[in-house]
Structures are given as C-alpha cells and as structure tokens.
C-alpha cells in the first residue's frame, strides 16, 4: 500500500490558503458553537433534572395564619399566663415536624438595616418603586431590604445550596435575646459583604445584630407567595425561623408570622386542609389557618408551569444542537467537494503519472481529515479554556468523526464518478 503523499496535501492546503483558512475558521467556529450549545443543553438538562427531583410530582400549597381579630388580640394581649403562646409554639413545631406533609416557614419580611444600601437590595426595586425604602431616622439613613425568614425545610424543599460559608445549624434556629443572628445572603451581596460582617438590623420591630455566615449559590430560587412565582434569592437575606427561649412581644409576633409558609404534599387540597385544621384545633378550636390551593381557578400552578418550561427549554437546546450539526455537515461537505472538483484536473494528471484511485482518494481524504482535525483542535482548545466540560468536547469529537465518515463515503463515490480519462482528448 502506497504511503500518503503529505506534500501533495500540504500543497493543496497552501495553494488554496484562503479557502483552507476560511473553511478552517468555519469549522472551528461551528465546532465551538456546537460545544457551547451542548454545554448549555447540559446545564439546561441539569436544571430540568434538578427541578424534577426537587419538585417532582408533588404539589405546593401556601399556608398563612388566619387568626380572627379577637383571637389575635387574645394571643398577643390577653395571654397573661402564656398558655396561648406555648400552644402557638407547640403548634408551629408540630407543623414543622409533621411527616405526612412538609411544612416550612417561608415568610417574606422587610428587614431594616442601618445605613444606605445599594438600590438593587431595596424593597420595591424590582417593581421600580423603591423611593420609600430609604428613610432617615435620628439623622441616620436606614434601608428596607428584602428578606425571607425560613425554617430548615426551606433548603431541602427548594434545593437551595450554599456557595460559600455555612448553612444554618440547629443552634441558629434558637433565639436568645442579645444573641447575634446568623444570616445567609444571596449571591448579589457577595460583591459588597464578606463572611463575618456584622449588620445593625431591625426585624419585626426588634433591634438585633446580624452576622453574615454564608452566601447562596447562583440561580437559587424560592416559591414566593406574594409574587405567586419563583423568585430569585440573589438579592435576599435569609433569616432563620426561631424557637424562643423567652416569651416577649417580639417572640409572640415572630412565632405567629412563622406560620406563614409553604406545604409540600401529595394529598389533595381538601384532605390537606382538613388535616391541618385538625392539628390546629387541637391547640385552639378557634384558630384557623388559610391553605391556598395552587390548582384553584384563581391560582396558577407555578410549579407545573416551570416544569413544562424547563422541559421545553431542554428540548429546544436539543433541537438546536442537532440543527447546527446538520448545517455544519452539509456546508463542509459542499465546500470540500468544491475543492475536490477544482482539483479534478490535478487528479487526472496524477493518474497519468501512475497514481491509482486510492492514491487520489487518500489525497482528498488527507485534506479533509487535516481540515477537520485542525478545526477540532482549535475548538477543543476554546472549549477547554471556556471550561465547557468534557461532554462538549466529546460531542465535538463525535461530530468530527461523523463528518469524516460521511466525507469518506461521499468522496469515494465522487472520485469514482469523476471522468479522469477526459484529460486525454478532452476537446474531442
């Protein structure tokens, strides 16, 4: 078997330097694009899988305390022996620990911080109305920022991850007056704060010191009752929900508000409502909780909506990857064929000088393989630098192999069909 005449192949490349360079750039860009989209596809798949594993087929309900005015007064003002407060605390704990459904506190609250905060953190920023979020008190600025008070179930049910620092520990969920409260900040805060920073805060009318113990991962979302939608946590501060060691006005108020949250359940609305109200009435027959059904006419099943969206996004990326690959294959095949056609005369002369079909075939394939290989190397380097992941690089390799295989067959057929003998007596 004759060796490949690499000098001929190099010569084809050099003599068609412009075309070769353009093809090479085209291949490198297309391969890189494919790799990038594959990376996005992979991320999208992860989001979809993450979403499915987090929310699955269960339903999310909202729960809010619905004490009537009289019961509220009795709880806050008329509870001289503290029995109401104790019952409320016990109720909250029972709900947190209930196994047949998952209740977690998820209570949007305004947090007041001393000083002037960046606009993006202020209450009402997203609605374009945050002019009232910064005030002056005793000659000093105070800012109202977004916060969510959460119990431990919040993290598991929403698959919230910590990027740096630490999560809330068991001790963090116990409140002692004067103790510094650990908080976890959304990713946007990372540009301005660091672990260990202390904040002067006022939360539900109680002054306290807060310490930054962690930052959330990028793309952390929670299901917000007020927005009726998934909301990014990047500009939120997370505060732990508490059990209190002492009774006070603050502890009574905080305990009550901590009943606001989400329930993740397999039960239907009616069954769940009945179950919760039965629990509540064990503590006080006049207390009520408001359970909202996301499948009701007035509500929107946000969870189902997002599930469908992530699935659609995933599918769209899949289609995009396939379309791009088809485009690359077609454009490359056409371009390489045009070069082969241009070289038909040279191939004919080589035939006269003793080249066989396989010599000419190897020459054309050598050119194709060189082009694909160089393009592959270029795009692999780009994807590697871009940290696109090994799956993207593998996809580009597969694409290269597919193109070479198609060209191998197509070139064989094309060269076989070339009438190389026309060089003799061509004019005749």
């Amino acid at each position: 078997m004759k060796m490949i005449h690499w000098e001929h192949i190099i010569e084809i490349g050099l003599k068609n330097a412009v075309m070769f360079s353009m093809l090479l750039i085209l291949i490198t860009i297309n391969f890189s694009l494919t790799g990038n989209i594959a990376k996005k596809n992979e991320e999208s798949q992860k989001v979809e899988n993450n979403y499915k594993s987090t929310y699955g087929e269960t339903t999310f309900y909202w729960m809010t305390e619905a004490l009537k005015d009289q019961e509220y007064y009795n709880y806050m003002e008329g509870d001289s022996n503290g029995s109401s407060y104790k019952k409320m605390t016990d109720l909250l704990n029972e709900l947190w620990n209930e196994k047949s459904f998952q209740f977690y506190t998820c209570n949007n609250q305004t947090l007041i911080l001393k000083g002037k905060m960046k606009d993006i953190f202020l209450e009402g920023y997203e609605d374009g109305d945050f002019s009232d979020a910064v005030k002056t008190e005793n000659g000093k600025d105070i800012s109202m920022v977004k916060s969510v008070q959460v119990s431990s179930g919040f993290f598991d049910c929403n698959n919230i991850q910590i990027n740096s620092g630490r999560a809330f520990s068991k001790e963090d969920y116990l409140y002692t007056e004067g103790k510094t409260i650990p908080v976890i900040m959304g990713k946007a805060y990372k540009d301005y704060y660091k672990i260990g920073d202390i904040l002067d805060a006022n939360f539900i009318m109680e002054d306290m010191k807060m310490e930054v113990v962690g930052f959330l991962e990028d793309k952390s979302f929670f299901l917000s009752y007020f927005e009726n939608d998934f909301v990014s946590l990047e500009r939120y501060i997370l505060i732990p929900a508490w059990n209190f060691s002492d009774k006070s006005e603050f502890s009574k108020m905080a305990t009550l508000t901590q009943l606001n949250g989400n329930i993740k359940a397999n039960q239907g609305y009616e069954e769940l409502s009945e179950q919760i109200n039965n629990i509540v009435k064990k503590y006080n027959s006049k207390w009520q909780m408001n359970i909202e059904d996301p499948n009701s006419d007035s509500g929107t099943n946000v969870v189902k909506k997002y599930q469908k969206m992530t699935s659609q996004v995933s599918n769209q990326f899949n289609i995009l990857v396939i379309l791009i690959m088809i485009f690359i294959v077609i454009s490359l095949v056409i371009n390489i064929f045009s070069i082969l056609e241009k070289y038909k005369y040279n191939f004919s002369v080589e035939l006269l000088c003793g080249a066989g079909f396989w010599d000419i075939y190897k020459e054309s394939m050598g050119f194709t393989i060189s082009l694909i290989l160089l393009g592959n190397l270029g795009s692999t380097l780009y994807l590697f630098i871009n940290d696109s992941g090994k799956n993207s690089i593998i996809l580009v390799d597969i694409l290269s192999i597919v193109i070479v295989a198609i060209m191998a067959v197509a070139s064989y057929i094309h060269i076989k069909r070339m009438n190389l003998g026309d060089i003799i007596g061509g004019e005749e």
Binding site: E11, L351, L352, G354, G356, I424
Partner: protein
C-alpha cells in the same frame, strides 16, 4: 508482438445516450514502432489512447501488453503498470500549474517511491537532455508553449517508459516548435521507445512508420 488489442469495444453511457466509441478494434504494435493514428474528430482516437494508457477499461475485448492481459489488473496494478511502462504527452501539456518544473517532472518518480537523491539525479538528467535545466524552478506559467511540451516530454520519459502515448502533442504549438517536438519524438523512438501518437497533421503523421486511419470507432486503413 509488443502489444495487441483484440476485438476491443468501448461503449459509453446508457440507453439513449449510448456511444459506441470503439467497435471490434484489432491492432498489433511491434516494439520500437512509431505509430501514428489519424481520423476525424469523434472517430475514437482518444478513446483508443485511453485504452492503451489503461485509463479506460474496454467494455469488451482483450488488451495485451508484452503478453500480459491488462484487463485482469485491478486499480492498483493498473496504476503501477502506467507508472512503470507508460508516458503521456498531451495537447494541453497536462502540467500541474501550481507546481514547479522540477515537481512536475518528478511526479511519476514519487509514485515509483524513488528516493529523493535518485529523483534529483534523474530529473536533472532528463531536463538537461531537454535543454531545460535552467528552468528547473520555474512554473509552467513562466514557460513558452514549446518549453511546456518539453517539460511534459521530460515527465513522460523520466521513468524510462516502454510506451509513449502522445495525443496531438503539437496541437497547441506553432509550426516551428511543433517540428522541434516531432524531432525530439523521433530521437526518442530511435533510442528504442515505442510511440503511439494521435495527430490531425498529415506531415507530422509521416514521422511514424506505422500509420493507422480511423473512422467511426474502427480502423479503416493501416499502413
């Protein structure tokens, strides 16, 4: 007999587009002959040359070269046969325009797997014979018609072929240059190389010692 063609038929195309280019053609050529083939356009001269050059396999018939049936060879064998035994000189010179004179002339030697040193020696020798040594690094676009044809001749002869096939070698040249080329061919023939040449020119046809006239794919006259 140096080479023989027995009942050679070549048919191109299918159905309505069928062309019967060579019809039951029989021909015998002795070694050392200078064969000239004449005939009108479309009579099958070039097809005959394609068959002799083992570029086109006949649809029917046997082509024997020094007693060996060429039709039994596969592609690799045919390529080797052409490389070792044949040389081609064509009307349009068939030079590679993007390569130098040296690269053009050494092309057959590359397929022969000749070493670089041997290549340089043989190319140098043949270009000297053709009085083209001073053009060795030039490109075809820098040469005159006569020089190009001499480069083509050099390429054809660098492997010391047994058979030289020439298709209208003077067709693109002026009369004076054409005569120069014909004189060269005569010299080559006198040194022992068998030549088969297609020509329209009666004067140049007389350089040969075996004249064939073709019409409609057949040999109608042989002298």
């Amino acid at each position: 007999m140096f080479l023989t063609l027995e009942e050679i038929n070549v048919i191109y195309g299918k159905k309505e587009g069928r062309v019967h280019a060579l019809k039951d053609l029989c021909l015998g050529i002795e070694e050392g002959e200078f064969v000239t083939i004449m005939g009108k356009s479309g009579c099958g001269k070039s097809t005959l040359l394609n068959v002799l050059g083992a570029i086109r396999k006949p649809t029917k018939g046997i082509y024997k070269f020094k007693g060996k049936d060429i039709g039994e060879m596969r592609d690799a064998g045919l390529a080797k046969f052409r490389n070792k035994n044949l040389g081609f000189v064509l009307q349009n010179f068939a030079l590679l325009n993007d390569r130098s004179v040296y690269d053009n002339v050494s092309l057959p030697l590359k397929y022969m797997k000749t070493g670089a040193k041997e290549q340089r020696k043989r190319v140098g020798a043949i270009l000297k014979e053709m009085d083209l040594l001073n053009k060795i690094s030039k490109y075809p676009s820098e040469l005159s018609g006569g020089q190009k044809q001499r480069v083509a001749l050099a390429r054809a002869l660098v492997t010391k072929p047994k058979l030289l096939l020439a298709d209208e070698p003077t067709g693109s040249l002026d009369e004076e240059t054409g005569i120069q080329i014909m004189e060269l061919l005569r010299e080559i023939n006198e040194e022992g190389t068998t030549i088969v040449m297609v020509t329209h020119d009666k004067e140049f046809a007389n350089y040969g010692n075996h004249l064939i006239t073709m019409k409609d794919g057949r040999i109608i006259k042989e002298e």
